[in-house]
Amino acid sequence: MATTCVVHSYRGGTGKSTTTANLSVLLAALGKKVATIDLDITSPGLHVIYNVSTQTMKYTLNDYIYNRCAFEDIVLELTNHLKLPRGSVYFLGSSMRPEEIVKIIREGYSEGFFHHVSKNLEEGYGVDYVIFDTHPGLNEDTLLAVMASDVSLLLMRMDKQDITGTYITSQILKKFGRLSYVILNMVPPNLAEAPDLPSEVSGIIEATVIGVLPFYEEVLSHRSRGVFCLHHPQHPYSSQMLKIAKKLLQLTSVEEMTIDLTKVKK
């Protein structure tokens, strides 16, 4: 069964889309089939990082929701486009056209939509991971995506606004019993080296920190012109992101192993 992950943050600009794109190619490098879905409906941009033109992205999630195309029309396989040696990456984009954005904001998605998309991707394409890149904040559609997913990856900067907002988000997720993990992004270099930083953050957010990504000038200068890890595979950011990908694999595999052990005991 495909594992669904949602990448979320309380505030914008935390690096959700960058994280989604980089995580997807690294999971593929680890042999997985990954689908990424741009659910940031008011400001979609994942296709920019993947270097997918609007001409290539003939149909979007918006078209599918309004019955203008078949499901296969919105699934783009990017494996060859990204020159990935292993695994696969599929992408489902959202429209950047203001008239489409306004319509979907007004009418929203439904919780059934997420299951439907994940199920189609699993059955039709055999994907192992479905990653939803979401709109920031505590809006209903984003929270529905969080509730519909197996794992939430909460992205935050070491900024008081982010910390406060992520704390509030974690309180909501706790009430719903959702499994969430934290990724600290753009951490000031001196703080990134503090060995007790992950445990301090885990203590307050009450979710395990699975990665600490320092602020790197090079990532900022890259300016979303492609997936950073593919352009700079030896960079420390890419190494850190690979650790996060491996951690995510391990965490989601352990759950499966626990289920298998239960079967063996019986």
Partner: protein, 73 residues
């Protein structure tokens, strides 16, 4: 061109969807958030972060001084 929204699921699933939305709205409406308590928690955390940062700066200074001393030897 059709402008009808696609239906993904049966009426049973539609009811489930509406129930989930209601649950989410009810939960958030009834959270009784104590903003003062949150501010205290975050302030306390910020103080701990500040201490961690100062400790690291102090360590860096010491390492820097040690390096200077050893270069003179």
């Amino acid at each position: 061109m059709s402008v009808t929204r696609r239906t993904y699921f049966t009426s049973v699933e539609s009811d489930k969807d509406l129930a989930m939305r209601k649950r989410l709205r009810d939960l958030m409406s009834n959270m009784e958030t104590n903003t003062e308590e949150i501010e205290n928690i975050i302030s306390s955390f910020e103080t701990r972060l500040e201490n961690i940062s100062k400790r690291l700066d102090s360590l860096e200074d010491r390492v820097s001084r040690l390096e200077k001393k050893s270069s003179l030897l």
